[in-house]
């Protein structure tokens, strides 16, 4: 350990160490470790270092699959994972899968071990970040200090993570405020977490104030990004674009700014700008699958077939071992291959779906949908019809709110077969079921324009949305005037036409709750309400109205129990 400096500074050095001891004796020792490295010497080196720090429980994994298998078996407190793991998953993909599948506990620490040449690669990832990066070589003492710090930090944030996990955002914010008020050295880190929670829970005014407060002291990319997100969410896309552009010019390697910039351009219907930005982002960090996917989709609309082919090729290639693997990328790659090259190579791309997906109905659907078009173009009419039938059958079995992307995909295929009526019907259904989903409405508008469909044939998106709004409004007005039964009847009728529509489902639940609150609890009605709420919870578990209604339902359930 380093020599403690004499005089006034020795106090702090001591305080630093007491902090570690304070929350749990032996912050390193009594925890479970996983070391992931494809290089045997490195695995045993790190294991020896940990043992020299007094750690006893250490598991080893040689590659990404072994790491995931181990994490499925046990909850590790600390994972030390090399970025470069040979073939199969890389370290970032292990992290993504572990987080996505909740294989790590809230207090777990994930450390990415990198070499200099992989550092930039890792930094450009899209969504999930490790708790820390360690660059090789490092020694035992360094590892120990770093882990002590990370474990202490996680412990300090655990109550907040727990509150967020339970969607108790106000509690999380209250704890954060208390911690921030004490002005600790990691104050801005706490502000960053608070900003994210505020944005995710829709408190945009408060989030904006927080970001502005931070930016008044110093220009920090995460705070500027937060400000831009607020603008994006209130649909002020030009302002959002300005904010993201500013980050990009000051921090050319900060890829989140590129992703949000592209999203904003897309919403502002500036598709060539969006494509350009994404092209720059993938050249900085080519392995992010969602980014390649978005680039491919936009390039397709812009009719840049070469760029689309390259983007979907990378989305498929880098997605193979990733939680971001999606069959639509294979379908798009197949279609663009058929256009750029020939049908036989396109069918080979689709064959790959059989190998990379294991009896996944969505994968089968995308395969069938793309296959039908390619067969048609190759003159195999019978095969084309069979595939189209299979795709239609599968699509019907999907959840109409969650899987609206499949409805859009099938609509495109129908249109290409000249089946305009079926195509319009599917798009209408997607709008009816999801009328408040702005991004989906954009998607549908894009589809309409790329299929050269007349928006008029759709009865225009806006008038369909107006229809849903009117029905909902009528139901709510009836309920307000006390005509609860009539309200419920109207809304339930509406619901049969658009069973996955969130607003309709929430309104039915609300009306039924109001009638129970007036006339007393009723177990049948409680079950009915649960059914409607479950439809919403499946697609949008964070919905704040949903959470409130669950609260009111709980009170009713307690009454039936009495």
């Amino acid at each position: 350990m380093p020599q403690k400096p004499s005089g006034k500074h020795s106090l702090q050095t001591r305080k630093l160490k007491e902090n570690f001891v304070f929350f749990k004796p032996g912050p390193l020792e009594n925890r479970l470790y996983l070391v992931v490295d494809d290089f045997g010497d490195m695995r045993s080196m790190i294991k020896n270092m940990l043992m020299a720090c007094g750690v006893r429980d250490i598991k080893l994994a040689r590659n990404g699959s072994e790491a995931i298998e181990q994490m499925e078996q046990e909850r590790f407190d600390v994972v030390l994972c090399d970025y470069n793991l040979g073939t199969g998953r890389d370290g970032q993909q292990v992290l993504e899968e572990a987080k996505y599948r909740h294989l790590l506990g809230l207090g777990s620490v994930f450390v990415m071990v990198t070499a200099e040449n992989t550092r930039d690669m890792v930094m450009g990832a899209v969504e999930y970040e490790p708790d820390s990066y360690l660059t090789k070589p490092f020694n035992k003492d360094f590892l120990k200090t770093r882990l002590e710090k990370l474990i202490a930090k996680k412990h300090n944030l655990l109550v907040i993570e727990e509150a967020v996990e339970k969607r108790n955002y106000s509690k999380a914010v209250a704890i954060l405020d208390e911690k921030i008020a004490a002005k600790p050295p990691n104050c801005n880190e706490l502000r960053k977490i608070k900003g994210n929670i505020l944005v995710n829970s829709g408190k945009l005014t408060e989030a904006r104030a927080l970001y502005q407060e931070v930016l008044a002291i110093r220009e920090l990319p995460w705070a500027r990004l937060g400000l831009g997100k607020c603008d994006y969410l209130i649909q002020n896309y030009q302002q959002a674009i300005d904010e993201f552009q500013r980050i990009k010019s000051q921090n050319p390697n900060y890829t989140p700014a590129y992703d949000w910039l592209a999203k904003s351009h897309k919403r502002a219907n500036q598709l060539s700008e969006a494509e350009n930005i994404l092209k720059q982002a993938v050249s900085i960090s080519p392995k992010a699958v969602p980014r390649q996917q978005l680039l491919g989709e936009i390039a397709l609309v812009n009719q840049h077939q070469e760029i689309a082919e390259s983007a979907f090729t990378k989305a498929v290639q880098h997605g193979r071992h990733s939680v971001y693997k999606h069959p639509s990328n294979y379908a798009n790659l197949a279609r663009v291959t058929a256009d750029n090259h020939d049908g036989a190579s396109a069918l080979l791309v689709l064959k790959q779906i059989d190998l990379d997906f294991n009896n996944d109905p969505k994968a089968d659907f995308y395969q069938a949908s793309a296959e039908s078009l390619i067969h048609e173009a190759m003159g195999n009419s019978d095969l084309a019809r069979a595939s189209l039938g299979k795709a239609a059958e599968l699509q019907k079995s999907f959840d109409q709110s969650e899987d609206s992307d499949c409805a859009i995909e099938l609509a495109k295929t129908y249109k290409n077969f000249g089946m305009e009526e079926e195509s319009v019907e599917l798009l209408k259904g997607a709008i009816l079921n999801n009328h408040t989903d702005e991004e989906l409405m954009d998607e549908i508008k894009l589809t309409i324009s790329s299929l050269e469909m007349d928006e008029q044939t759709l009865g225009t998106i806006d008038s369909i949305r107006e229809e849903v709004l009117t029905l909902n409004r009528k139901g709510v007005e009836l309920a307000k005037s006390g005509q609860l039964d009539e309200a419920a009847k109207l809304l339930k009728e509406t619901s049969t036409r658009m069973p996955a529509n969130r607003t309709v489902n929430l309104n039915i639940a609300l009306v039924l709750l109001m009638s129970m609150e007036r006339e007393g609890a009723n177990p049948n009605m409680i079950d009915e309400i649960k059914g409607y709420l479950a439809r919403v919870a499946k697609a949008d578990p964070n919905n704040s109205t949903l959470q409130k209604l669950y609260g009111r339902l709980k009170i009713m359930m307690a009454k039936t129990a009495d």
Binding site: P2, P137, F138, K140
Partner: protein, 219 residues
């Protein structure tokens, strides 16, 4: 593939080997269980200097290709200095030198942690050669800059170097790896900017420990 690319790729490979060498030497040190071992100190010191130099080379290569950008983050400076001193402690101990650090409480800095760690490790590497018995890392907030200094109790920098710095802040080095290290430190400091202001370096003698004092000023 051109020569600089081949060189860079080989350096990465050399760094991997060197990493294992450094870890193995550290292991041997642990097994020997002695407080101070000058021969081990030399091995550790030289291996770490090699590593620092390779990092400097790779970074200069990237700067040359316009690929090196800073990733500015908010850093708890005390923890940062603590980690660096812990990292260098074993080597210094074997050479009979103590490393300590001082920092204002709760001091927060804005810099690229990885780059700055590379620079400071390489400056400590220099310091270990010229210091008699002590190296001190010091951090403070002065004139609106975060000032990170590395002081030793050796004979200090030659007067010519101290005089030369004001005239030619960023001049390319003529010879010697000490100057190359300073040149790299200066480049990295300049890459740290806040608004209109850029970072810089300063050399001085007879500061905290009486010997040389190298400081990085970050806005």
């Amino acid at each position: 593939m051109n020569f600089p690319d081949i060189l860079a790729s080989l350096i990465h490979d050399m760094k991997n080997s060197l990493g294992l060498v450094i870890n193995t030497i550290d292991d041997l040190g642990e097994e020997l269980h002695v407080q101070e071992n000058p021969k081990l100190g030399t091995l550790q010191h030289e291996a770490r200097r090699l590593n620092s130099n390779l990092i400097t080379l790779l970074s200069l290569y990237k700067i040359d290709k316009g690929q090196l950008t800073t990733n500015i983050e908010e850093i708890d400076v005390e923890q940062f200095l603590y980690e660096i001193s812990v990292d260098n402690q074993a080597t210094a101990n074997n050479m009979g030198i103590t490393i300590s650090y001082e920092s204002e409480e709760g001091l927060v800095g804005y810099f690229d942690e990885w780059l700055m760690r590379g620079v400071i490790n390489s400056l400590i590497g220099n310091g270990l050669r010229y210091s008699a018995s002590q190296i001190l890392l010091h951090a403070e907030f002065r004139d609106d800059y975060l000032v990170l200094s590395i002081d030793d109790d050796g004979n200090g920098f030659p007067q010519s170097m101290i005089e030369a710095q004001s005239a030619q802040q960023q001049k390319k080095p003529e010879q010697g790896e000490t100057q190359l290290g300073h040149y790299f430190a200066s480049l990295v400091a300049h890459m740290h900017s806040n608004g209109e202001r850029e970072g810089f370096i300063k050399l001085a003698n007879n500061q905290r420990l009486g010997g040389g004092s190298f400081s990085l000023w970050l806005p």
